[in-house]
């Protein structure tokens, strides 16, 4: 089949035309290739190397390997570093776990301090409660021994509409509460 030259065919012919690139390969410094792959090469060295890559399929392949092998090299180096920790060395938490631990430590400390503070308030309140106050609560309205509670609600006098007073009186019979309500005058 006859057709217009495709990109693939053009590319194949161009690479074939550039096959004699041994001299370009001989000149290249692998460190320059790595620097270029990592975006660290600049100036005239960069221009010369890019021109060489454009004319050498082998260099283009090497450049692609330089770009692609970075991640692989990091994985290998990380594994090697992880495996060669000397015996007895203090294990280092993984970054995430360390971050969580660093967050939890002050949180636990704050919770402990808060709990201690609340406990201290209760303790000191019980220790320092005034006797008179307790007595006043007990003697309120002259509570008799067999009475529990009573309330009276009396009308007010003059321009008072209502007055409210709490009195304690003796319960009669089986009554527990005594309650009186008086209308206003």
């Amino acid at each position: 089949m006859t057709s217009t030259m495709s990109d693939t065919k053009l590319s194949h012919l161009y690479r074939g035309a550039c096959a004699q690139d041994a001299w370009l390969l001989a000149d290249v410094d692998p460190r320059d290739l790595l620097d270029l792959a990592q975006g660290r090469l600049a100036g005239e060295r960069r221009q010369r190397l890019v021109a060489a890559i454009a004319e050498s399929p082998s260099l283009a392949a090497a450049y692609r390997m330089a770009r692609a092998s970075g991640e692989w090299a990091q994985a290998v180096a990380a594994d090697l570093a992880g495996q060669c920790r000397p015996a007895g060395a203090v294990p280092v938490l993984p970054r995430r776990a360390a971050r969580v631990a660093a967050f939890r430590r002050p949180l636990a400390l704050a919770a402990t301090v808060a709990a201690m503070a609340v406990g201290a308030v209760f303790v000191t309140q019980n220790l320092r409660a005034p006797e008179s106050r307790i007595d006043a609560m007990v003697d309120l309205g002259g509570v008799k021994e067999d009475s529990i509670a009573s309330a009276s609600f009396d009308s007010g006098e003059g321009d008072h509409i209502f007055s409210f007073g709490t009195t304690s009186r003796q319960a009669h019979g089986d009554g527990i509460f005594g309650q009186g309500f008086g209308g206003g005058s």
Binding site: M1, T2, S3, T4, M5, S6, D7, T8, K9, L10, S11, H12, L13, Y14, R15, G16, A17, A19, Q20, D21, A22, L25, A26, V28, P30, R31, L33, L34, L36, G39, V50, A51, I53, A54, E55, P57, S58, A60, A61, A62, R64, M65, A66, A68, S69, G70, W72, A73, Q74, A75, V76, A77, A78, D79, L80, A81, Q83, C84
Partner: protein
């Protein structure tokens, strides 16, 4: 100089790690260097392994920086490409001589190769005649780089690289057409 094997412990560590990552390295070589350059992934992996062994033995420590590991890979690939260059430029087999498997599988036969030589010369001349600004984007595109990669290499945006690349390829085709290379059998 004889290479003495590294200590068994360091060797075991390295073996463990490379056993886990070896397949990925072979895949990278197949992806980037096997199709066009004919490198053997197993050879590259073995050579990388030997060089890392030497480094481990020299440093007395199996912890190697990532940059060093990467440089070992790139240097190994470049050395292999340099070694393989003479084989790539070997001429066609003599009559009666057994052709290699690659020659049998290559769709471009000897007769076609002769005409391809002329086409290659024409293509080189046509590319050389392109304006300098379009020449490198076209060359890099023919090497298989994407517009994004070309933009990175030439320090320009991908869009600009794409424009220069397409205009350059159009001009190249026009020049080849003018030289009588507009139609060709295309498998």
């Amino acid at each position: 100089m004889r290479l003495s094997p590294p200590s068994s412990k360091a060797e075991d560590r390295l073996n463990d790690v490379l056993a886990r990552h070896g397949a990925r390295l072979r895949a990278l070589v197949i992806q980037h260097c096997s199709a066009n350059q004919g490198l053997d992934p197993d050879d590259i992996e073995q050579e990388v392994r030997i060089r890392l062994w030497k480094a481990v033995e020299r440093e007395k420590n199996s912890a190697l920086p990532a940059s060093y590991v990467q440089r070992v890979v790139v240097t190994t690939v470049i050395d292999a490409l340099r070694r393989d260059k003479p084989e790539q430029t070997t001429g066609l087999p003599e009559p009666g001589q057994e052709a290699g498997v690659e020659a049998l599988l290559d769709p471009v036969g000897p007769v076609r190769s002769a005409t391809d030589g002329q086409r290659m010369d024409l293509i080189r001349a046509a590319i050389g005649a392109l304006p300098p600004r379009r020449r490198q984007p076209v060359q890099l595109a023919l090497q298989g780089f994407t517009p994004e990669e070309i933009g990175e290499l030439l320090d320009m945006t991908a869009t600009m690289a794409k424009n220069l690349m397409y205009r350059g390829l159009y001009e190249l085709r026009e020049r080849l057409k003018a030289a009588g290379l507009d139609d060709i059998d295309d498998e």
